[in-house]
């Protein structure tokens, strides 16, 4: 069995990225073939590409030829940008519901708070939830919300909390900083401003490129490198579309 893991994995990433990488690694350890699709081209992934908006569905359809299962980590910008409107939400989630039909095993991992503008309910999400063989949420409150959404099979819902990043990600970096006791407040305030300015710069670059996601921690060999994603290839889009049309036509032709 080959499983496609969709979401940001390190490097550089944060806690969520590290957990997704750990999951992919565990799947591999059980003997499955795993392919990772990450929006951040710095990630140690098999494939890089935009997974925001309708692009996610197109990527899934394209990869479904070689993969039986899929794990999608819902997070900032995946599958919807925080600014997504009703139409974009309906189109993206509707297409996602269609794309998920190509997989026999579908796991949806939801960050908390659940990053779905417009909430977890509604017709647009029903097809997506109904295709899921497993829906992983971080806490009971999220479970109670999701279980009420149309299309959700309560038996598929699993609560698996993300460990609090006591010593990890950006917090760790703060822990490593050294401050003199004299005028402590000014030093910390300056560090806050500088780190925020760096985060704004990274965010701005991502927004320009349409790939808003988890912030870089600004440390290590990947600092200063671009988080740019692979742009959508029009030829690929056309091939995916044509392939899908062919498949539907073939299906219709074989029906009695």
């Amino acid at each position: 069995m080959t499983t496609l893991v969709v979401g940001t994995v390190p490097p550089p990433g944060g806690e969520a990225a590290a957990q997704l990488a750990a999951l992919a690694s565990q799947l591999r350890a059980t003997g499955e073939r795993v392919e990772v699709l990450s929006p951040d081209r710095r990630s140690a992934a098999h494939h890089h590409g935009s997974i925001t908006g309708p692009m996610l569905a197109l990527q899934l359809i394209r990869r479904s030829r070689s993969c039986d299962g899929v794990v999608i980590a819902f997070g900032p910008g995946v599958p919807l940008a925080a600014t997504a409107g009703r139409v974009e939400r309906a189109v993206t989630l509707g297409l996602l519901g269609v794309a998920l039909r190509s997989f026999s095993d579908v796991t949806l991992r939801l960050a908390s708070p659940i990053p779905l503008p417009g909430g977890v309910g509604g017709r647009a999400t029903a097809a997506m939830w109904s295709r899921a063989t497993s829906i992983v949420v971080e806490n009971e409150a999220d479970r109670e919300r999701v279980v009420l959404a149309p299309g959700v099979d309560a038996a598929c819902l699993v609560v698996r909390p993300t460990a609090a990043p006591a010593h990890g990600g950006r917090s760790m970096a703060w822990n490593e900083l050294h401050f003199d006791t004299a005028d402590l407040r000014s030093q910390v305030q300056l560090a806050v401003r500088e780190r925020a300015a760096e985060a704004r710069r990274v965010n701005s670059a991502r927004v320009e490129l349409g790939a808003k996601g988890v912030l870089d921690d600004g440390a290590g060999p990947f600092s200063g490198t671009s988080a740019r994603v692979s742009p959508p290839d029009p030829v690929v889009l056309a091939r995916v579309f044509a392939g899908r049309v062919r498949r539907v036509l073939r299906k219709l032709a074989t029906q009695p």
Binding site: S112, P165, N175
Partner: protein
């Protein structure tokens, strides 16, 4: 004001409180019985408020003030009368003003202050609690702050704003500050247990209103936890409906209204206090958090709180959700350094904002006012 009255009474001053029968600053409905009572060594006289006749006219004027439109003097007076009136209190002052060495009125935008100040301006001190908001720039506020003998400010930025608002500011004005009571002990673990708080949390304490920055804070906190994967929940208590968005309901916990005896423990249990309000003339919760050894993260656009943070060395400021995220990440990642900041804040409160210090300043101001009349 009530605590100041008791503090002065404890130093053998004869103190009376003249106030309304209302408890809500929205409805101004009479809820207490009018009349005279005693609260320890302080005499309390309550007077009924009078209902506003035309609420639509008052609302129109309020709308114009909020948009910083220029109002005629008559419109400004109509605006002051459009919230509540308490004419019996005014008449009591007219009758008894000569009995008092000083008449302290607060805050600046209420009928009782604007009208009360006209009775005996030579012995009146206004404690305005000014914010840089459209009301502060009304002509009637300027003339009140210029006509009275004294003004008490809670902070230096408020004092400077007073000069900008009223260039001919009352001659006997000073920064007296405000005081907080220093608790004898804290029970952070007990508070967590009583309220079922198992995760680390940051605290917002106060009115859950647009004007206090509550809704903006919800958005900023949501963005901060989404981008930083912070371990904190946001715990809140106070009046007003919190209206927590669905997506944040698992991370924002509303404790409703807490008894005052619980507040010190709440401050001690938090990993940090968030102060998003831009309209603060002092910010008591910031002082209470520092006293409890809890660091403060405040909005940078609040001139007064930013001043406290800088002057004390005890708090951080943020100007958007990204900086808030960094501040919270700092508290999560470097708790010892954050505690060291809070220690600076505690030292600051103990040095400037305890009742003995503040009452000394009030006494000095009143003595100066009385002496000037006798010259």
């Amino acid at each position: 004001m009530a605590e100041a009255a008791h503090s002065l009474a404890a130093r053998d001053h004869e103190v009376e409180i003249l106030t309304t029968c209302a408890t809500s600053h929205f409805s101004w409905a009479n809820e207490f019985e009018p009349g005279r009572s005693e609260d320890g060594r302080v005499v309390v006289s309550r007077f009924p408020t009078v209902a506003v006749r035309s609420r639509s006219a008052a609302a129109q004027l309020e709308h114009r003030v909020q948009r910083s439109e220029s109002l005629s003097p008559a419109d400004e007076i109509a605006w002051v009368n459009g919230r509540f009136r308490v004419p019996e209190l005014y008449l009591e002052l007219v009758n008894r003003a000569e009995e008092f060495d000083a008449i302290v009125l607060s805050p600046y935008l209420f009928w009782s202050t604007i009208y009360g100040a006209t009775v005996a301006p030579e012995r009146t001190i206004v404690m305005p609690c000014l914010h840089d908001e459209p009301y502060a720039w009304l002509g009637i506020v300027r003339s009140t702050l210029s006509a009275v003998a004294g003004a008490w400010f809670l902070s230096e930025p408020e004092h400077q704003l007073g000069h900008r608002v009223a260039p001919g500011l009352a001659p006997f004005h000073s920064v007296v500050g405000a005081a907080v009571v220093v608790p004898e002990h804290y029970d952070a673990a007990g508070f967590r247990e009583r309220h079922g708080l198992s995760r680390p949390f940051v605290l917002y304490a106060g009115r859950r209103e647009e004007g206090k920055g509550w809704r903006r804070l919800l958005g900023e906190f949501g963005a901060a936890i989404a981008s930083h994967e912070l371990p904190f929940d946001l715990v809140t208590f106070g009046v007003g409906s919190p209206d927590i968005p669905e997506g944040l309901q698992s991370r924002v916990i509303d404790l409703g209204y807490l008894e005052s005896s619980e507040l010190p423990d709440a401050f001690a249990a938090a990993d940090a206090l968030l102060q998003p309000s831009l309209n603060e003339s002092f910010s008591r919760t910031v002082m209470e958090a520092w006293l409890a050894g809890t660091p403060v993260i405040a909005h940078a656009a609040s001139e007064v709180v930013a001043w406290h943070c800088e002057r004390s060395g005890g708090g951080l400021t943020y100007s958007d959700e990204i900086e808030l995220g960094e501040c919270l990440a700092f508290v999560a990642g470097a708790p010892k350094t954050a505690a060291a900041l809070a220690d600076e804040g505690r030292r600051y409160v103990l040095a400037h904002y305890t009742w003995p210090t503040v009452t000394d300043a009030m006494e000095r101001s009143i003595e100066g006012l009385v002496a000037s009349r006798q010259r």
